[in-house]
Symmetry: C2
Subunit: 144 residues, 2 copies
């Protein structure tokens, strides 16, 4: 994968690029030419294992990009299961709107990882920015 990115180029996408290009294509299962966003199952992987899995090239990274489908806790419900083996992801703050010029194309939610089980658990430094398409209520998250 790393050999596809020419020397000197870094992946620093804007929110608009993540939602309007990458997430849109991922959700539609369209081919992405230089696909540096790994498909993972966020609830089967711990945050500290994401680094190796989502590495791009040889540089030290502090952000990782991936695409994961949402997992429903109860087949009929809308509550989302955000637990892993070691802990859980909990939303924090307000969702942020993502615009393509003046058009709303998606939302960005911030989640923090807690070790342990809800409602307890020990807060960690791991953060996810979860993007969803505005047009798709059950849109699949993609995060950094």
């Amino acid at each position: 994968m790393e050999s596809l990115v020419p020397p000197g180029f870094r992946f620093h996408p804007t929110d608009e690029e993540l939602v309007g290009y990458y997430l849109k294509k991922k959700v539609a299962s369209q081919k992405i030419d230089l696909d540096v966003i790994r498909d993972i199952d966020l609830y089967r992987i711990e945050p500290w294992d994401l680094q190796e899995r989502c590495r791009i090239g040889y540089e030290e990274q502090k952000e990782w990009y991936f695409f994961s489908h949402k997992d429903k806790k109860y087949p009929t419900g809308t509550r989302t299961n955000r637990a892993t083996m070691a802990g859980f992801w909990k939303a924090t703050g307000r969702d942020k709107a993502v615009y393509d010029k003046i058009k709303l194309i998606g939302m960005r939610k911030t989640l923090v990882f807690y070790k342990g089980r809800a409602p307890n658990g020990q807060k960690s430094d791991w953060i996810i920015h979860e993007y969803r398409l505005e047009s798709d209520e059950n849109g699949a998250p993609q995060a950094s």
Copy 2:
């Protein structure tokens, strides 16, 4: 050209990448897959005209990359003619060594643009980082 760079990628090369990959290939006239470094004649162009000439994509840039051959002031001399129509480039500070791990592969010189004619002239905010291959005394400069 811009259509070749996928969304989300930015060109932020390190000194090592500029010298060890791009400059080396430019000097050897080798093909560069995604060549975002324009070939120009630095002494036939004013700094403020570089922006349009060396643009990559649609984003606002504060740095531009280009490759230019050195121009000898006197055919037999080693003094380099760094004048344009409107002014001249003058070296400042010390050259910086560029390493590939522990191997010296090039040098980086910093030059400032002065409007007018040497030894007078009015200092500007325009700066060039001129890279040369260490193995090639008359190496062609490449700058940002």
